[in-house]
Symmetry: none
């Protein structure tokens, strides 16, 4: 089944809010095996809403609306769709009772316009809204299905988790569900990964192989429709195995997690601790790790040493290492090694990770923008040090360098 | 001028990413006086991209595309639009040179597909991409304007801030221009700020007053269309003055900068330095400061002390302060004060800022989630300490706490 998501609301067109509903609904529909071919955003304007319906009606079997079910004059979705389908609107008494009850229980006078939230398009099924007052509508005409949901995510999501999904399953009938696997990669660029898989990607039909890149990470989703999980598993296993044979060394997870989440998982399961010493990345590595709930068990802390003095005072690195005639300097392999080793010792941790380099815009110590030395120190093992050349803006260089360091840490954790 | 934003990418239809580009572009186009009537999302499919172009062509004067300019087989935007307009595609040599230079400087073999990123539709103007390899395109045919931008926000936004806006202004031509002022607020919640301005906002017609909230910061844009800058200035000045009289104490900037950028500006102009000691915020404050180009002159560094041992070893805070019968504990006003003072001394800085508290999801030391103590130490002045109660997710609590601490630092810098 082909779906189109139509978000109604001028606030979206003004950029006042982000259309997170479209993402949530797209994911939710995918898990039901429904393909979303278009997402549309239209303002609170009757003729443009009608136009969006006409277009979507031509190219989709299912139109999922969010927004425009509220009490105000700007909430037009039901009115416009009813007019388009030549149907009337009637009060849904159970919803009306709920609205009246709510107002009387709170001792507030009910404004007449609140009755609008109980309206249903004639011939539609009610989609109950437990978190708000606007009842949802589901209806089918001439083989096209229409699902109307409110805009506020805290109302829309519970409806979609329950009664709206039930309604969708009932109209889906006998279509085959979609099964998929997610593969997460790091330590390799998007174009290099694709080059290694290009024949698989180009030959794909079933299962499909869809790569998408974030900074320093690449996800590949492998999907197939099948009558049941057993048949899906056979097809998915074959494709996933073929991908793993090519690029398995870069595969850090088979679920939707970040590289830092995977690293924290492995630290946790092996009861190890991490400390960090950052120069170029300025706390970004610490921030990514501590952004993970419960990471305090795996992370003792770290330092952000943006000056030579701080590297000396906080980490005890000799000033002669950092500056002066013939000194290796702050941006050097040997300083990266010292930073990683010292912070590991101070934190009494199993691993110490360090980064030093040039994020730009200007070069530093005569070294070019994008040059980064990073090191992984490990208790009882020799310290490994790496050189990276990263391109992009200051922000991109920082995130790529941090992901590269996390990748090396992940390799060590995986080997254990 | 009526615009439609067309985001190209199957990853959006699968719900793998949120279409934040549509919000950003909608706001940006509004500041140029361009009205967005529709936002469309379409997958990496040539016939559906073509269909989206045909529809948008009918209802808009300007089509702004994001996505589909990359090197892979899935990146089709230029190809499809060129075919639709019966135009060819040619290599843009300066972009090609940049791509080749990047690969050779990093000693990586350039995959042939990377050449695709230097393609331009014949007759279009190049829109330079300083943060990535895919060159943007701008062209006009039969009164319709087409602007092609890459999908990654880190590339698209700098283009839109510079060359893409320049191109748009050139095609806007003789329309009455929009003039606007941006007012940036911190230290006050969105609803409190709106409550103080509600009569101004409700009475607005010209200039318009549009508030936008981010975590810990609120922007208000005051806009008017006028034949010339002098007439616009009179109208804008009057409204801005009225807003300042109500909430001027929270106004940290009159340009699009973040609170941390403002703080770094003030540190720079007063030749002061900052150090940070973070527990709850785990490096986020350091990361925000060091994310600003050139901040190494204003920031010596800091510590992320996620354990009592690290607070003791790195900052010299006595263990008796942190744990044991009757100790104030790590999450206390007095620990926040010590952290700020010690890190200021270690960094030999003018200011030391600290944060300690509970980000959740679980409480800590018997203290509730969202409780944060933060302190600002200043050379030769008594240390100020604050208590905040923040709500939201772990990530939101962290960013709100950091912005609250930055606000207090900004107040001190402003007073000087």
């Amino acid at each position: 089944m082909k779906a189109e998501i139509i978000a109604v609301g001028t606030e979206l067109l003004l950029g006042q809010i982000v259309n997170t509903n479209a993402q949530y609904l797209s994911r939710k529909l995918a898990t039901l095996g429904i393909d979303v071919y278009f997402q549309t955003v239209v303002g609170d304007n009757p003729s443009r809403i009608k136009q969006a319906i006409e277009i979507a009606r031509e190219r989709a079997d299912l139109l999922v609306f969010t927004g425009g079910l509220g009490p105000t004059q700007d909430d037009l979705t039901k009115d416009v769709l009813a007019a388009y389908l030549n149907r009337g609107l009637s009060i849904h008494q159970p919803s009306m009772d709920t609205i009246e009850q709510m107002f009387s229980s709170r001792g507030i006078h009910m404004v007449e316009s609140n009755r609008r939230q109980a309206l249903m398009i004639d011939g539609s099924s009610p989609i109950e809204n437990e978190a708000g007052l606007a009842v949802g509508n589901g209806l089918t005409e001439d083989g096209t299905h229409y699902l109307l949901l409110p805009g506020p995510p805290r109302e829309m999501k519970p409806m979609m988790e329950g009664p709206a999904s039930d309604w969708l399953r009932s109209v889906l009938g006998s279509e085959e569900p979609l099964y998929s696997r997610l593969l997460m990669f790091a330590g390799i660029g998007e174009s290099s990964l694709e080059a290694k898989l290009i024949d698989l990607i180009e030959a794909q039909s079933d299962p499909t192989i869809a790569p998408y890149a974030k900074e320093g990470e690449i996800a590949i989703r492998v999907s197939t429709k099948a009558p049941n999980e057993t048949e899906a598993t056979v097809k998915l296993d074959r494709t996933v195995e073929a991908i793993k044979q090519r690029v398995g060394e870069f595969l850090f997870a088979q679920e939707e997690i970040t590289l830092e989440e995977r690293v924290v998982q492995l630290l946790r399961s092996s009861r190890r601790k991490l400390s960090t010493a950052e120069s170029i990345s300025g706390g970004l590595l610490a921030e990514l790790i501590t952004g993970i709930p419960g990471s305090s068990g795996e992370y003792s802390g770290g330092v952000v040493t943006y000056t030579n003095e701080m590297k000396h005072k906080l980490l005890g690195i000799p000033m002669a290492q950092l500056q002066g005639e013939g000194a290796p300097g702050a941006i050097s392999e040997s300083t990266a090694v010292m930073m990683a080793e010292r912070v590991r010792q101070i934190g009494d941790s199993d691993f110490g990770v360090s980064l030093t380099g040039v994020a730009g815009p200007a070069q530093a110590e005569g070294q070019p923008v994008g040059l980064v030395y990073y090191a992984v120190a490990q208790r009882g093992k020799p310290t490994a040090v790496f050189t990276g050349h990263f391109s992009g803006t200051r922000a991109i260089i920082r995130i790529r360098a941090v992901k590269a360091a996390l990748y090396q840490l992940w390799l060590k954790l995986k080997e254990e």
